[in-house]
């Protein structure tokens, strides 16, 4: 069992509004996913469901450091990213219910949330599959003289894939504006980092491509945001790609099918003492930036949003079966 650092602490260098915005998004993700788990049990959501519970500070801190015009490429564990990005919770829940009102018209489900408006280029269910795409998106921006950061999220397990190696080299070689965001939650399904990587210092791996790197406590939304802020600044100002390792932990099983027999329960409990929500809440309260009433209000809002989303999804309409092949290809003659 890996030793666990003390809980994140210390002052929160943000004004109250900004701090609450971060907290609100973390709570929204948490409540949303708790509902997803419940609805999975109820059979409303099917297939693979990968919960982000415990890792919320990563998507929240990182995406709050980016801009609306930036591109996001995510994995199958991307509910949080979609929510923070501003994809309506209604359409995300409807997607998971397989309804036409879903952000992918019910074609994708939990692992494939897409949204052109917020430039979310999908959850991708092939480990490492998003990496080459992000390099291409950044290449398109570079060639078109658009100043934009493409943030690519992936797990530490993905770093063993050839796709990681080839993508890092290409991005670094061509100095492309890619922000590589590694969500190191220590496990790839049941395989611990040390059982899958000869070099467990992920920043050392990334640095071998000549890419600057940074490591941040993924349970501390402040640390995440600050790291991402610096990194995106580097990328945005044309200095090429940047790699950030966010050290985090998933409190739930890998997916709803995972018996979770490969890790020490004590380890999970120890990591829960570093929970991104309760530690941040405590810090804000200590600083007088948050009262219990305010927290409860914000929590209630999140619950209400989730309930509305579930109702919306429930009321959603199934895509007519005749439209099975809709959007397979462009309509004849389209350009």
């Amino acid at each position: 069992m890996i030793a666990v650092a003390p809980p994140p602490s210390g002052p929160v260098p943000y004004a109250k509004d900004q701090a609450l915005a971060l907290l609100r998004d973390m709570v929204r993700i948490r409540r949303f996913e708790e509902k997803c788990a419940e609805m999975y049990g109820a059979g409303k959501i099917r297939g693979f469901l990968h919960l982000y519970i415990g890792e919320e500070a990563v998507a929240v801190g990182a995406l709050h450091a980016l801009r609306p015009e930036d591109n996001i490429v995510a994995t199958y564990r991307e509910h949080g990213h979609a929510l923070v990005r501003g994809v309506p919770m209604d359409s995300i829940m409807a997607e998971m219910y397989g309804k036409r009102e879903g952000c992918s018209r019910g074609r994708g489900g939990s692992m494939h949330l897409f949204d052109a408006k917020t430039r979310l280029y999908g959850g991708n269910a092939i480990v490492g599959g998003g990496l080459p795409i992000s390099v291409g998106l950044a290449l398109a921006d570079a060639m078109q003289g658009v100043s934009r950061v493409t943030a690519c999220f992936f797990g530490e397990g993905a770093m063993a894939e050839g796709a990681f190696h080839e993508s890092m080299n290409l991005a670094a070689l061509w100095k492309l504006p890619v922000l590589f965001c590694c969500e190191n939650n220590l496990y790839a399904m049941g395989t611990a980092l040390a059982r899958s990587e000869s070099q467990t210092d992920l920043c050392v791996k990334a640095a071998s491509y000549g890419v600057p790197t940074l490591r941040a406590d993924g349970q501390d939304v402040v640390a995440v945001r600050e790291a991402a802020l610096g990194a995106q600044e580097h990328v945005r100002s044309g200095h090429g790609p940047f790699f950030v390792e966010f050290q985090t932990y998933r409190y739930r099983a890998h997916s709803m099918f995972d018996p979770d027999l490969y890790r020490d329960k004590g380890e999970v409990e120890a990591w829960k003492t570093r929970g991104p929500l309760h530690t941040f809440t405590a810090r804000l309260k200590a600083e007088g930036k948050l009262t219990e009433e305010e927290f409860l209000a914000l929590d209630r809002e999140a619950d209400a949003e989730v309930e509305r989303a579930a109702a919306f999804a429930e009321a959603g309409t199934p895509e007519p079966t005749e439209d099975l092949a809709r959007d397979l290809c462009a309509p004849e003659g389209a350009r």
Binding site: G47, G106, M111, A160, G162, A188, G190, R195, S196, L324
Partner: protein, 326 residues
Amino acid sequence: MTRMSYREAMRQAHREALAADPRVFLMGEDVGLYGGTYAVTKGLLDEFGPQRVRDTPLSELAFVGAGVGAALGGMRPIVEVMTVNFSLLALDAIVNTAALYRHMSGGQFPVPLVIRMATGAGRQVAAQHSHSFENWYASIPGIRVLAPGTVADARDMLVPALAHPDPVVIFEHAQLYNMEGEVPEERSADIRSAAVRRPGSMVSLVTYGGSLPKTLEAAEALAAEGIDAEVVDLRVLRPLDMDTVLASARKCRRVVVVDETWRSGSLAAEVMARIAESAFYDLDAPLARVCTEEVPIPYAKHLEDAALPQPAKIVAAARTLLGRSR
């Protein structure tokens, strides 16, 4: 006769193979500590230890290629590629190494390797996780391709596959793992012939793997309307046992091929082509197939169902060949 699930049958086959031959070992993603994505290999790590049950990093190309190397080096590897979807990343090692080293080396370097993978759709895991590429694998000279569609075959095909001197790819349809069935005491070592699962006379339904239960269900429904259908389980997708298929085609004079690969370029197309080459004059009706619709498999249940072969579609296809409207 003992009753067990397809999953348990597979697990038993692994246990027996590992116990019988010290050269046999298993490697793949999460086959060990996690217990296997589909729990097929559960308990094997404890029983055989980390040397012979190896969890690999997410590196499909390298660990499949390493399986080829280990086979060249005297071992009898079982490489589990979690699903056929991810096997695309390892295809180079299979096509350009495993399948052709014996031939390209003038017979010096056979590759006695077994590669297992889950395949198919039906669990609402969406397009990237619902592929069926049995048709592609079955087109590669130098390898043998198996598709156990019954619990007995799940138990009995692995051991002869390991004894086979050339690469063998085994497809396990993810929808079959929970299927229960009776298995006889005695083992079969047959990895060359197709099997008639249901004798019939009016229409031959040729299928394999995950479509076998659906096809048997369709055959029952057809029987209820007085249509006596024969069901042929290909079992071995390469090389195809055409004697059995052609005999059934000649007897029934009408054929529907049922196959979960996408219609265009499906394995069904190859079976149809062979029949059109060799049994053309014995047919009373056009050849027909029930395959997967040509779309990425959607997540939504009703759309996924609509995309896949279903008993009702098979029944309809058979009826059409027999000129029954209804």
